[in-house]
Symmetry: C2
Subunit: 350 residues, 2 copies
């Protein structure tokens, strides 16, 4: 079992520090990847702080992985040495249950093998993520990163990209639709770029007027400050679809009022507490409040292909891994436009 | 303006008493209807007690109307004297806005003219409902009640029927689907009959074991008592669609856990207070919480035709109008299986 340099949280809430992770020898269907960049997702912070419970340590976070194929098992036909590839939130699933057969492996009835802080399908082998030099993943869970996508900017597509692309597709966002994006952070800026590329007229709803210039630059047709009641009156009943990326507490009922009849508000952010929903806010206008969790493997590949076609990547600030703990602090203050990507070459230096 | 015997609430919360309502002389596109039966909907109680605010008095409630055509205006071609017809929750709309053009008149951007406690599109003429001998309605808002449907049992189809039929159709209930019906009252027993007729395997979720025999008789394949945690464990992740008819407070998150991935829970009951919804309960499984408000005119006709084809009417207890106040009290105790229908012949006696 080759040992690979990595950064890990040694215990809940402790700073990440250099660590050595063991990766399996590649089997016949495995792909060994030299990791180039790994995006930092808010989930990484929740997990290393054990805020959702059940975290195991030491933990190597990271599920927005882009790298180059170093080695392939002999049954691997789809990928070759040197290919630019991605790994997202999942590294395996049962492949037999209905969700797996229907391309929604994230809902595997056996429980998916998450990229880190989880176990493989043997339910013994602990998974360790992308804040490391190398990873070995079954080919089915390895995505092809199309030519033309910047590798650092492509890394966040593997989580932030698919998390926002999937609900836009599920709810049929198309040319001429009015789409609202609530919150302009890592997820929100991807929702904005993707919805605009689908031809929608996108309005960003943000707590901060300071984000308007960025929103416009990234393709927003409209921008509204959510502290302002007038914005809610002006926008009432106008939106076909809303992607709500906010994980701070907020009043869903107010936002539901912005939807046209049969409109849908999709939650991809997780506020710390349940939020009150008035039945009347849904019944009036046959409105819908939905949730969406990442996306399946085939859909993730479709998202990457869509991004290549439309030249979309995340706006990233590239950092060396030695700055990961400061990056977490800055993310908690919203001080990043719009995603950190760790340059794994830095691991060799430290 | 011919005067018509009716029952009205003279003021908020006062008992209904005999009243005389003026109906307009039928215009060229109007249909004058001799009312045979009018169902009692929970909305009637909310409105006469002004529980939602904005009620005007005296108020003649009633929007589950079945009667026979007495007279037609000269431009009325679709209906003839003697036809059995129905009138539901709406008597007019603007007919020009997008919802009206798309057959969802209930969401008319000008505000629909509700059958009672509202105004016609002139925004002056107060509407009065079906607890009366006669009503005059524009032909577009008059439904044909197909032959073979019992007129008393058909009356509640005009509200309880369409309220449950529409979400089953919106969300594509079909043969083999597993549909949950939460609450077995006026709405719930219609949801059960309709979903079963669509070929779904229906499970009733009720607070009361005493309702199991009725549920089975009406076509339920399953029955679960919701006080029992074991029922929630057993049913977890099993349902494709749920129609939640309950207007008492209850925990939506618990019920959302019963849905399969991409499953939908549709609210048609309105609890008195907003209920907390955990984002995670929706995000896990890409689940949806939706609302649904009655249905459009064309869809209401489709529902009546479906009911005729499947020989479905509501289970009604027919009462004379002199018992309407007692009926309200009994409804509040859940003491009716499953809907009251007022026999309007009784108005001539009192």
């Amino acid at each position: 079992m080759p040992s690979t340099p990595a950064y890990a949280a040694p215990a809940a809430g402790k700073p990440l520090a250099p660590f050595s992770v063991e990766r399996r020898d590649p089997g016949p269907r495995d792909v060994e990847i030299d990791i180039l960049f790994c995006g930092i997702c808010h989930t990484d912070i929740h997990q290393v702080r054990d805020e959702w419970g059940g975290s195991t340590f030491p933990m190597v976070p990271g599920h927005e992985i882009v790298g180059r194929v170093r080695q392939v098992g002999k049954e691997v036909t789809r990928l070759d040495i040197g290919d630019l590839v991605g790994v997202g939130c999942m590294v395996d699933s049962c492949r037999a249950c209905e969700p797996c057969r229907h391309g929604t492996e994230q809902f595997c009835e056996q429980g998916v093998a998450w990229t880190y802080g989880s176990t493989l399908m043997d339910r013994k082998t602990v998974t360790q993520g992308g804040y490391s030099s190398r990873i070995v993943v079954d080919q089915k869970f390895v995505l092809q990163v199309p030519a033309g996508l910047d590798p650092a900017g492509a890394a966040p597509l593997l989580c932030a990209g698919i998390t926002t692309y999937s609900p836009l597709r599920q709810w049929g966002a198309k040319r001429g639709d009015r789409v609202g994006v609530v919150g302009l952070g890592g997820l929100g800026h991807m929702a904005l770029k993707l919805a605009a590329a689908m031809g929608a007229e996108v309005t960003v709803l943000s707590t901060s007027r300071a984000k308007e210039a960025d929103a416009r630059r990234l393709g927003a047709a409209g921008f509204e400050v959510t502290g302002d009641d007038a914005a809610f009156r002006k926008m009432a009943g106008r939106l076909d679809l809303m992607i709500d990326t906010v994980s701070a507490p907020h009043d869903y009922n107010r936002y539901l009022g912005l939807l046209r009849p049969h409109g849908t508000m999709v939650l991809v952010g997780v506020p710390p507490e349940p939020a009150p929903v008035a039945a009347g806010a849904l019944i009036g206008g046959n409105r819908r409040l939905a949730g969406s969790l990442i996306g399946g493997i085939a859909e993730t590949q479709a998202m990457l292909d869509f991004c290549a076609q439309h030249r979309i990547v995340a706006d990233v600030e590239v950092i060396p891994i030695q700055q990961v703990n400061q990056a977490y602090e800055r993310m908690l203050k919203g001080d990043v436009r719009f995603r950190f990507a760790i340059d794994m070459a830095s691991l060799k230096q430290g």
